[in-house]
Every structure is written in structure tokens, then in C-alpha cells.
Amino acid sequence: MSTPRGGTGEALLEVRNLVKHFEIGGGLFGGRRGLVRAVDGVSFSIRPGETLGLVGESGCGKTTTGRCILQLELPTSGDIVFEGRELSKLGPDDMRAVRRRLQVIFQDPYSSLNPRMTVGEMIAEPLAVHDIVHGAAARRDRARQLLRHVGLLPQHAARYPHQLSGGQRQRVGIARALAMEPALIVCDEPVSALDVSIQAQIINLLEDLQAEFGLTYLFIAHDLAVVRHISDRVAVMYLGKIVEMADRKTLYDDPLHPYTRALLSAVPIPDPELEARREHLVLRGEVPSPLDPPSGCVFHPRCPIAEDRCRRVVPELREVKPGHWAACLLA
């Protein structure tokens, strides 16, 4: 299988056939042994300056994919090529340098910030650890500058996380990522813990920073409207696999996979008149366990158009139209 690419140009990040299985059971408490196929053969690439949205419901493997890219999880198999280098082949020193260029923004900024450090200290710390800025005074200046970039004031440097609102904490998380001068930021549900009125602030900020610093984003989220807004291309995951991938407009205007269609139909739209007219395609059943995925197409038990062969044949992610990939026999 060729790697699905987004148009032309060298990729900043290329993920090839990524597999991550977790073994469970056994051990001290026994229990049924099994293999959770969290990520089961995922391939995509991201061009410099691009935002790839990765959507799916809980347990689909989107976060694990992000963690494998960040080297927070060791992939079971597959390659992750970042800035032309295969990450599994790097020694510790090279890996350190790569980690700087690969940053992350988490969902819950409160649990990812140190409650005993001031905002200024938290931003200055990685500057010292990675030897990015020399001297405490210079680091303080740089921290203040970073705070300005993310829309905070210099006086916020003296505050502790509990003295900030959710939106302000997420800005601190972004400033910390930015301090490393990264090329790629994995944004893992960066706005889903925030209030509606604050989400838009943070999304606008991420877009401004991308334009200003030429950042590339892997934007992991479950909110389809947010993903549509921020992404250039979008990949939809279901039970460890990418089931559809295309540029934003194509995917939302002309979804090919029945799962993507169901997801889009399930999102309620803030307009009562439209909602009353709209036809809702409610999926039956629940997401099956990744411990024991269905045969053939993993979506077939819930699929409204499944045929007999869908139970037997595993659909490959194939380029149905130029640049539009779908893993469905009927697409």
C-alpha cells in the first residue's frame, strides 16, 4: 500500500503503517489475557505549515497515535519519520534534539502544569533544560515575551496555575510548547475542556501562532465542527484505523465512508428550525471492543449499508478520488 499523501511537497512528518498493541490481563490479578489493538496500521503524512485534523470517538486510537509520534509510547511496529529521520533509529542525543522540535498541548492544562511553580518559572524551565536561552535574566525576558505571544500579560509570570482561568492555563501550556521553538505541535483535544466562549479564543490563537511561526499541527479532537474550522486535511479514525481522509472541504461536503456520514449527522446544529427539518442518521449499537474487533470491516456491525462481504473482507484505505481516501468496499 502506498502512503496516503496530501498533495505535493516534502512531508514534515510521515507515519507509515503505525501499529500499537497493548497487552492486558495476566500479571498479579490474573484476568483474561488479551491484546488491545489501539492503533492498527495507520499511515498519513503532514506537510510543513499544514494542519491535519484527526477525529474519532473515544477509544478510536487518535490519542495513542499522537503519543506514538511524540515518542511517549513505543510503537509495536511501523515507522515515524520526522524531518526526514526515522525516530526509532535515533540515539539518545539525536532524540533529545528531536523532542524539542516535537511539542504537545494537552486537553487539561491544569493537570499538565506544576501547581508549585509560577507561570514564569514553568516557561523558563525548559529554556534552561534544553539550553535554549542562556542566563536567568534572559530567560525571564524570553518567558515574558512568550506570554505576550499567547495573549497573556507580563504580570501573569508571577501567578500560580490555580490563580488562572481554564483559558489562561491553556495559554500557558501553549507558551511552554512554543518556548521550545517546535516545528510540529500535537494538539490533543486542546479546547474540549474549555468553556464555549473561550474555545474560540484559543483556536484563533493557535491559528495566529501558526501563521506567525510557521507551525505545523496534528490536531486531535472529537468535535467535528472545531476540526473542520482549523484543519487543512482531516483523517477520521474508527477502532484503530483511519477510515477516511481528505482535504477539509471534500471530507465535509462529500463524505464517502458511512461512519463519517453518521458522525456528521449526529452533531446537533445550533439552529432549531434547521434541526427540525434535518434528517438524523442515528447509528445503532456501540463501538466494539478493540480487544476483540469485528471481522472484515470493523464498522460493519453498526453500518447502515453493510453487505455480506463486509463481514469477510477487510477494506483497505484506498484513493477513491484524487486525494480522497476511504476504507470502504462500497465507497
Partner: protein
């Protein structure tokens, strides 16, 4: 349709280290029989505390209902003794919470948790209660209820647990269900299943519903009337159609404009509400939304605007400048 629940000038306060928080600050609203009413707002606006106040479940001693009346079928719930209140909870007013796992007892079987209410509130015999519990489970779409009844909550998925909560809430055929973010913890395809289930059951059984949520899409699809809350007060109320078509409070307008929408062309840029959510221990004088408001005038910082009628019957807003708000459908964004 008569009024089933009439909340009048409700005030609920919490004593914190930072001072007294007026979580619900003189709020009045009502639910008619069989109607679905939404309380919508962001974290800390007082929507959940409103529901807890109705059930008299605000955690004492820090939290206390300090004023107002909660008239349910004409009786003031705040005046009832604890025993009478216990009968109201569950049998007349039921509550569904966001996280079903925390409101289910992990060491009791599903069957027991449903039959307990049926036996206590309806005086059913154990065998009859068991049969009714199985009926309830199949009503909320849980397959194979006989096999499911002896199981424990941890053996259910999140969506199935929420179905079970709905079954438990409807067990004693209440007149009103308070649903506090019932689908926020669920995935979008499961959310759709649960909401459709709640809608069809409430219609079929004629149950009134108070839907508490921050999700404007859910409100649009399921609510007849909407109350928008900000900093402990209702700042706008109207039919769902009115509120979405012609919002008459800058906060409502801001909320509607700040979310990206799948039914509209993608905007170049989102229009957020600027600033931070209010600190309830240090609310400014006048209108609590004024510091973030694009329509602010001098008067807003001094005088708190009361709810007043505007536009269609039943539409009220707490804004001095409501007449200046234009329709939400006007093109927005593009400023950069």
C-alpha cells in the same frame, strides 16, 4: 398546559474562603407540564446549582438556599419536611447526572438499584418490581434485560449506564426529570442515541424535562424554551426558535457566534467572546457581562439590567442595549 414547576426568585449561596458566592442570584423560571426547558450557560453560571436546589441537594453547610420559592404542583418544596421531600425525589422529580458511574452504587446489582425505588416509592412487591425493572431496561433499549439485571455498573459501557440512569429516573413515572449534562461524557454517536431516546420517552410518557447543558446544538434540537444563564442570573429567555433566530442579549449572541458550525460555510476566523469568565466572588457592579461586552455603555457598569420583554411574547432580556443587537445571521468574521 399549566405550570408544573415555578421557581421564584431563587437564591443559593456558597460560603468559600474567597467570600460568599451567589451561585444562583434571584432567578425565576418555570416548566409547564410535558415541556422541555433548557438552562444553558458555561461552567459556574449556576445551572447545575439551580437543579440541585430544586432537589434540595445543595451540599450543606457551605451551600444553602437562602431565598425564594420552588413551587412544584403548587407546593413550595423549600417548606417540605425531609420525609416529604424524600418522596418527591425519585417518585415525582427525578434527576439524571452527567457521569452515571458516580451516581450508581458500584456494589449493588443494576436490578437492585432499580427495584429499590420501585419498592420504596411505589410499594411494589419484590417479584413485581423485578418484572417492572426488566420492562424498564428494554424500554430504554438495553438488550437482554434478564441477563443484565444481575450485573454490576462496571459491566456496562458509558452509554448503557446512561440508559440505565434514564430507566431509573423514569421508574416511578415522575412528572419532571432534571437532566444535568446527560450526554456530555458520551461520544457523539452515543449522545445522539441517548438524546433521541430521552425525547421519545418524554413525549410518550408526557414527562416534563429540564435540560441543563452548555451545548447550543443540543438545546436547538431538543428544547421548547431556553433560559440563558450568566454569573448566577438568567440573562435571556424565550422559545428556542426566538433565541436562536434573534438573540437579544450580547452574551447569547456571542455564544452563538463563537462556535464553528457545520451547516455554514467555514469562516476565516472565529468570533470569540473576549475576556475571562467572571469570578463570582468578585463580581463587578451593574451587569456581570459588561466587562466582556461589545455593546457596553456607561450605564452597564452602574445599574444591573432587569429582565424585560422584548420582541415576541415570552422573550425577555436583561440588557439595556438589547435594541442595538442585530440578527445573528448577518455575516460575521473576516476581520483580521
Amino acid at each position: 398546559m399549566g405550570s408544573l414547576l415555578d421557581v421564584v426568585d431563587l437564591q443559593t449561596q456558597f460560603v468559600t474562603r474567597g467570600g460568599v458566592v451567589r451561585a444562583v442570584d434571584g432567578v425565576s423560571w418555570d416548566v409547564a407540564e410535558g415541556e422541555t426547558v433548557a438552562l444553558v450557560g458555561e461552567s459556574g453560571c449556576g445551572k447545575s446549582v439551580s437543579a440541585l436546589s430544586i432537589m434540595r441537594l445543595v451540599a450543606a453547610p457551605a451551600g444553602r438556599v437562602v431565598g425564594g420559592r420552588i413551587l412544584f404542583k403548587g407546593r413550595d418544596l423549600l417548606q417540605l419536611d425531609e420525609e416529604s421531600m424524600r418522596r418527591v425525589r425519585g417518585s415525582e422529580i427525578a434527576m439524571i447526572f452527567q457521569e452515571p458511574m458516580t451516581s450508581l452504587n458500584p456494589v449493588l446489582t443494576i436490578g437492585r438499584q432499580i427495584t429499590e425505588g420501585l419498592e420504596t416509592h411505589l410499594g411494589m412487591a419484590p417479584t413485581a418490581a423485578r418484572a417492572r425493572a426488566a420492562e424498564l431496561l428494554s424500554m430504554v433499549g438495553i438488550p437482554d434485560p434478564a441477563r443484565r439485571l444481575p450485573q454490576y455498573p462496571h459491566q456496562f459501557s458509558g452509554g448503557m449506564r446512561q440508559r440505565m440512569m434514564i430507566a431509573m429516573a423514569l421508574a416511578c413515572e415522575p412528572a419532571l426529570v432534571l437532566a444535568d449534562e446527560p450526554t456530555t461524557a458520551l461520544d457523539v454517536t452515543i449522545q445522539a442515541q441517548i438524546l433521541e431516546l430521552m425525547k421519545s420517552l418524554s413525549r410518550r410518557l408526557g414527562v416534563a424535562m429540564l435540560m441543563i447543558t452548555h451545548n447550543l446544538g443540543i438545546v436547538a434540537r431538543y428544547a421548547d424554551r431556553v433560559n440563558v444563564m450568566y454569573a448566577g442570573k438568567i440573562i435571556e429567555r424565550g422559545t428556542a426558535r426566538e433565541i436562536y433566530a434573534t438573540p437579544r442579549h450580547p452574551y447569547t449572541l456571542g455564544l452563538l457566534r463563537s462556535v464553528p458550525r457545520l451547516d455554514e460555510p467555514r469562516r476565516a476566523r472565529l468570533d470569540p467572546i473576549e475576556g475571562q469568565p467572571p469570578d463570582l466572588t468578585r463580581l463587578p457592579g451593574g451587569c456581570a457581562f459588561a466587562p466582556r461586552c461589545a455593546f457596553r455603555v456607561e450605564r452597564c457598569a452602574v445599574e444591573t439590567p432587569p429582565l424585560r420583554p422584548i420582541g415576541a411574547p415570552g422573550h425577555v432580556t436583561a440588557c439595556w442595549e438589547a435594541e442595538r443587537l442585530t440578527a445573528v445571521r448577518e455575516p460575521v468574521g473576516g476581520r483580521r
